[in-house]
């Protein structure tokens, strides 16, 4: 077993910042990550970091924009923390040498971004995320912080009190992908989850293949409520075969969208008679999908984004990188032919419920970055607000986990008696499958060793059973380790069954078909049925590759379970929320309904039977209250 | 980290000299070739002719300089190549001194020849 004060799971922007902060606060910290840090998906971010650093700008304005962009579903304490600290954290990056783009006078450059009242998006060319990730990794090397790279964290070691709020996290269990070793990692002071996005729930996403929502699913199964999962941002112009993002710049410069019949559908079919192609992301995404659904898509899949009329000179001058992207990843020459595009999953606003200090309701368990939901983005994230989230909340979580004094959080985490219970009418039972037999693949097992699946189970051995609370912290890690070993042995020992790739493809397709930018009751219910069926099939999953060396088949099989839990949570939230807010659109209710829905959708795993409840939004800021207004620009 | 590399050698000087000698050699080697194969044909070479040239003070010093630079350039090149191929430790030291000895021998022998042509006898060999 390995032992450290603080264990950070994940090495993207959030994880790296958390580790640096924890070390600054005096902790012995280690990062455990399934990818080498520089491979993290933070590197893909292009646009920039929002920070109010200039004269004429203020954090208050940034907070106002963020709250408005969130469609009033952000929690003010978190939003204000983000906007207040972003300038300092952005400058910290600069002081660490990050290669920002520069103005004539040598100061860092900023540019305008959608939804911002001031050009405050601080950038480094079209590769801000890459620069940010590498700059922070450099600091990690400088400080000699230990990294266990290519170690896949599979489970949290959490105590098993009946009420999640009383549980404590003592560490994690991880699998060394290179050697096949399964080992416990005891965290004396805290575990910080920074596992990033969950795009792989969909079959078409701008996210990396490794963004499978592991952190969200692990925390969820360990008892932490997950928040606002239905809010998924879709980007309207991604390349069909890979999901590579074609920036808004093309439409900004005058690029036009056409359907199969060569019609400029944004106008011809009246999706946005004024703004046309430049309407907001969700409007354009829905328009594109309507075209495809009504049979006017090209190959029934995508539409065309044409920039040829801009002329070679202008394209080469302003959009050169787009030409390369289309050529390298789609085999299309943007000067000669229109580029195929379709909407793709881009960002998850929801995630692990945390307060503004990054702490979850489980003692010693923290989360930061895209996997967390302190709620700064509410129902819709503004471009350029995710990177500041990584550095602000990564740092807070790091300090907090390492034991530094923090101001008391205003956001209360955990399920409290007074909060509204939710109800949603599902066609099938959500949650763990309770078929009989020796199935460990789908979750944990009882801590007392019994495997009667009719009883509730949970990951992390969190079932309420007497006696085990007497275990030492190491004991909990040891127990989780045993359970994990057993699961891995089981998966490797099984000689036939179904393979994860098949289930994965089916779930991804169903999610893209049914829980996409268009959401209507029938589709959502279909998705739940599909997920249920996938869960049942997953009971029979096996790993064909029996090798202990670099077994990616095994890793993907374990990821698959996380995809299932996360996909279901997204769908449940989407089915429950009958309104149109931010990125979430419901056919049955196409307007925002503040009287009823100004609240966070919360989901607790509840040992295998998901429970829906709601937490009110906090709109009272430090010195003002953010009154919901019509979100128009 | 950088500790692994704490014992560095300033290879820069030899690198620079290799370039400087190369630049010098371009000119002289071309001249040499041209003179002895095109102006005078090699098969017409006789002691007398060589001797006549060597007696010119400038030609003599040019040829000696040519010899020294070519030797340095060639031997240093060989040594670098061997080091790049992973020659280290005591073998490296051995090779180094062998090469130095060989070069000295070559230069001395070359100068003696030149002296013979030029009719210089002040040198002890």
């Amino acid at each position: 077993m390995y032992e450290h004060d603080v264990i950070v799971v994940g090495a993207g922007g959030a994880g790296l910042r958390a580790a640096i902060a924890a070390q600054e606060a005096g902790a012995d910290v280690a990062i455990v990550s399934k990818l080498h840090p520089v491979r993290s998906h933070t590197g893909a971010a292009e646009g920039g970091i929002n920070a109010a650093i200039r004269e004429g700008d203020s954090w208050e304005d940034h907070a106002y924009d963020t709250m408005k962009g969130s469609d009033y579903l952000g929690d003010a304490p978190a939003v204000e923390a983000l906007c207040k600290e972003s300038p300092k954290e952005t400058m910290q990056l600069e002081h660490w040498g990050m290669a920002f783009s520069r103005e004539e006078d040598g100061t860092v450059s900023q540019r305008p971004f959608g939804g911002l009242s001031f050009p405050r998006t601080t950038y480094a060319g079209a590769e801000t995320g890459h620069q940010l990730l590498h700059t922070m990794y450099e600091q990690l090397v400088k400080r000699g912080i230990q990294v266990y790279d290519e170690w896949y964290v599979t489970r949290l070691a959490v105590t098993d009190e009946a009420d999640p709020e009383e549980r404590t996290c003592h560490g994690v269990v991880a699998y060394d992908i290179q050697s096949g070793e399964v080992s416990g990692f005891r965290a004396r002071d805290g575990v910080i989850l920074a596992t990033g996005g969950l795009g792989q729930v969909y079959d078409h996403t701008t996210n990396a293949v490794s963004n499978t929502g592991d952190g969200v699913a692990m925390a969820y199964r360990a008892g932490v409520p997950i928040e606002d999962m239905e809010f998924i941002q879709f980007h309207p112009t991604t390349l069909p075969s890979t999901g590579v993002l074609i920036s808004e710049g093309v439409r900004g410069e005058g690029g036009i969208l056409y359907n199969e019949d060569g019609e400029r559908f944004m106008f011809e079919y009246g999706y946005a008679n004024n703004a046309g192609e430049l309407a907001s992301r969700d409007v354009v995404s829905r328009a594109e999908l309507t075209e495809v659904n009504e049979g006017r898509g090209i190959e029934d899949e995508y539409v065309h984004l044409d920039m040829r009329h801009l002329g070679e000179e202008r394209i080469l001058d302003r959009l050169e990188n787009i030409l390369h992207l289309a050529e390298d990843f789609e085999g299309v020459d943007g000067l000669e032919e229109p580029m195929p595009v379709k909407p793709g999953q881009h960002y998850a606003m929801g995630g692990i419920e945390t307060d503004e200090n990054g702490e979850t309701c489980i003692d010693g368990l923290y989360a930061a970055g895209e996997c967390a939901c302190a709620s700064v983005h509410g129902s819709n994230r503004l471009g350029g607000n995710a990177l500041p989230e990584l550095i602000v909340f990564g740092k807070r979580a790091g300090y907090h986990a390492a034991g530094r004094e923090m101001e008391d959080a205003e956001i209360q985490t955990g399920q409290r008696g007074e909060w509204e219970r939710g109800e949603v009418d599902t066609p099938v039972e959500p949650g763990a499958v309770s078929s009989g037999g020796d199935v460990v693949a789908d979750g944990g097992e009882r801590t007392d060793g019994s495997r009667s699946s009719s009883e509730p189970r949970s990951d992390g051995g969190a079932a309420a059973s007497g006696g085990s609370s007497s275990l030492t912290p190491e004991g909990y890690v040891e127990r989780a380790l045993e359970a994990e070993r057993e699961r891995i042995e089981y998966l490797l020992g099984k000689d036939e069954g179904i393979q994860q790739a098949e289930i994965r493809a089916d779930v991804q397709m169903s999610m893209t078909r049914n829980v996409n930018v268009f959401r209507e009751e029938g589709g959502l219910k279909q998705a739940l049925r599909d997920i249920r069926e996938a869960r049942e099939r997953y009971e029979d999953v096996y790993v064909a590759d029996k090798s202990r060396t670099f077994n990616t088949d095994l890793v993907q099989t374990i990821e698959m379970q996380n995809i299932l839990d996360v996909a279901e949570a997204i769908t449940l939230g989407a089915l429950a929320r009958k309104e149109f807010r931010g990125a979430h659109w419901r056919k049955e209710a196409q307007e925002r309904r503040d009287e009823e829905w100004l609240k966070h959708t919360m989901l607790s795993w509840n040992d295998g039977t998901p429970e829906l409840w709601y937490r009110p939004v906090i709109l009272e800021g430090e010195s003002k209250t953010y009154e919901p207004k019509v979100r128009s620009y | 980290m950088a500790e692994r590399y704490s014992s560095f050698e300033r290879g820069g000087r030899r690198w620079l000299w290799q370039r400087i000698t190369a630049a010098f050699l371009v000119v002289v080697l071309a001249f040499h070739f041209f003179l002895l194969h095109f102006v005078h044909h090699a098969d017409e070479v006789t002691f007398a002719m060589s001797s006549a040239r060597m007696e010119t003070w400038t030609y003599y010093s040019l040829m000696v300089l040519f010899l020294v630079t070519a030797t340095f350039h060639g031997v240093n090149g060989v040594f670098n190549a061997l080091v790049n191929q992973g020659l280290t430790g005591s073998r490296k030291t051995a090779v180094k001194w062998t090469l130095v000895a060989a070069s000295l021998l070559l230069v001395v022998q070359g100068i003696r020849t030149a002296n013979a042509w030029a009719g210089i006898t002040i040198l002890p060999f």
Partner: protein, 295 residues
Amino acid sequence: MSTQVPEQSEQESSAAESETSVAQEERMRQKRDRAQARERQRQKEESEISPDDEDTYQLKVFRYDPEVAGKQEPRFDDFYVPYHKGMTVLDALMYARDNYDSSLTFRHSCRQAICGSDALFINGRQKLGCKTQLSDLDEPVRVEPLPHAEVVKDLVVDMEHFYDQMHAVEPYFQTNDLPDDELAEQKQSRENREKVKMSTRCIWCAACMSSCNIAAGDNEYLGPAAINKAYRFTMDEREGEDIKQHRMEILEQEHGVWRCQTQFSCSTVCPKDIPLTEHIQELKREAVKSNLKFW
């Protein structure tokens, strides 16, 4: 930009209604037919993909596994993958893994040439799988792990050595004159940022290191990527002269810049088009210059 402006939702629904015409139904029927045809096609492809199919690509993939009988001796496996426009080598590998052999192992993550995990040896060249269009390659497409690195399994190589070299050049910013105000930036001229720009683009894919014969022969040679990393800081005007001197000392050691024999393979294969040889050469000149000062 709005989600709340009422006209918009009306527009959407009215657009949908007026379209529910006969023509629309016909379209939908055609669409279903096409979908079915595609599905049939897909099944057909899966059941009877043969070497001579027009629309398939033949991949010859290096296989090795230290633990699995039959794979301990390296071999090449053939995979026939149905082609679609825009398909990359990585797509083809993923297809082969998901449909034919789940034990086919390779690193990959971003699919967009930014994470640097899938540098492979494709038809004799170091390339990123995700950035290489199948249509640009001759068949059969030979895919091997990076040369000059130890193979862990199939296409996965051990990267430790590469990381060690990267870490050996003190790859982090060091400066003595940060502004006192934590909210003020340390200024840098545009020209200077432009100068280091290309060098900051490295994604640690190790393609360059794998292509360099010198690095293959001398395991301690820092290698083009690490030297480029050092270049990124050495040339950054925000680091002071004394630090630059310190960096030059690291670069000048026996296995540093002098080892480079200007073979140019590194610059040729770098997927981020970093002019590596140029950077190395510039550092050699810097080293000579700084040495001349002390002569």
